[in-house]
Amino acid sequence: MSLQDIKHIALVLSGKGGVGKSSVTTQLALALSLQGHNVGVLDIDLTGPSIPRFFGIESAKVRQAPGGWLPVQVHDGQEASDKTNGHHENGQEKNSQSGHGALYCMSLGFLLANRGDAVVWRGPKKTAMVRQFLSDVHWGPLDYLLIDTPPGTSDEHISLVETLLKSATPEQLAGAVIVTTPQAISVSDVKKEINFCRKTSVHVLGVIENMAGFVCPNCAECTDVFSKGGGKAMATEFEVPFLGSVPIDPMFIRLIEEGKAPVYPEGTVVDGQDMHQNGEKSEVGDEGLLVEKYARCSLCPVFAGIVRGLVDNINVTAG
């Protein structure tokens, strides 16, 4: 049973495509890892797997072990170099010098011979693959398993929830994180997803509003590219926790697309932290680990906050 050593399982869901499920999953995993947790990421978007691209491990292949598959390791766990400051409440001590937990991934992308190959599968085949991903991957001991999903409320989701309700204990299955963009178009699809969770009795851990505003790198004017406030209003309407808003950061996209460490112009302050100085202090170059480079991204403090809220909610649920 591959799920038995996992403490908490959280799904990342959204009725709408392209709102940043994979991006949010990636950043939740990195933020959890930076707070010292061991994290696994399972990508069950079978026809459009993005997780390998996000973690920059597209060429990796899954290895076979007796009775199952070994997930692809993104980075190993590392103890903090200076343990005395490891217990701050605000989590901002987690810069590139501090330790991080191990991070593993599993995706159908690792099983494809060619990255451009289409996976044309009907329902039963997808169901079988989802079940196999849940039963045959040797995750080892994990604090958190994040499951990235395709858009919609169909085969993959039904199979995923069915299998989890059967094979994971209620303490393990923490619940679902819902991702939306602020637009009404996205919110109206995502409401369907919350109703899906209610019908299948999956606990909603909270709503994350992604792509909330874009700060012009030239004049620092913040434009609400995809409207504003929709996520929070929806969370209030459905009485579920609102975990936070995430702006668009071109530096994060650059980090994922080109692997370049984020650099910010002078005077960029996020959460009281000067991102410009933060970048200059650190010695992490473009060759560093993704998690180290991410620690310099302006979204890192944002996600550190979201993850703290999420972990609290999970602990409350788990009793």
Partner: protein
Amino acid sequence: MAPSLEEPIQPVDDALDSHLRKQPALKAAPPEHCPGPESEQAGKQDACAGCPNQAICASAPKGPDPDIPIITERLSGVKHKILVLSGKGGVGKSTFTTMLAHAFASNAENVVGVMDTDICGPSIPKMMGVETETIHVSSTGWEPVWVSENLGVMSVQFMLPNRDDAVIWRGPKKNGLIKQFLKDVEWGEMDYLVVDTPPGTSDEHLSVNSFLKESGVDGAVLVTTPQEVSLLDVRKEIDFCRKAGIPILGLVENMSGFVCPKCTHQSEIFRPTTGGGRQLAKDTNIPFLGAVPLDPRIGMSCDYGESFFDNFGDSPACEALRDVVRNVAEVLGMKGEDVLPLDD
């Protein structure tokens, strides 16, 4: 069950083929390695041993789906059928579908239909501003919801008792509804039928393709955003189209570049690090139909269900969209200016 690493991917031809056949009624859920109740191997493979459906599958007639000629008959009055596809979600398929339909319909002589095959996340009704409508059933079939005199829409949203209800359906049920949209809807005489699809390459896409094969599809317009995460999935969709024999009309790049409303500095929010849609079109040898910049007002128009063309006709995004629509018309063998007359 021992996992197998070798060739986990079902050949596309198989999936396409078996979809064209008639499906028998099953009495239990198909097993994990079900060959598909409509396939030649149905009831004969290892996975079928012990399956409660075995006898049904083995004895079911293996002929083509008898509903396909009915669909062909129903759609005989539709001149052009265009699919809007993308492997990736949220790149603007529905927005583009809406724009294309509005653009075609701006010529009062055209009659335009839009079919929304995104069953789990229908967006078209909201974008068209007809979210609260319901379908009228007459003796000849279902009547589409008319947005204007010459623009009709069909979507699962019109059938939901509550706006926010989740449609928790597996593949076969979704296929059934798509078939009904084609078979039972009174499309009538139409110049254009634009079919909006969900992201991916799965049940909905296979169904639309197989049901429309006989009646002839003009082709597919692929939509992408400039970043590689999106192009990666669109490449899969191109692969799918090629294998399924769907002609590709071209590729549209959406959300390419954003102009700051304050300082008019252009930033690339979704950076085209691998050359964007233009390069992909070149690499895969398909026509590039144009790039539409990111304009927050497009999203707002969609949220309020208004036509972007009517509200912000002179914006650069609108101009780019008009060009794309003209290019689509050219690829279809018409004159771009006839479909959307030039302003000056």
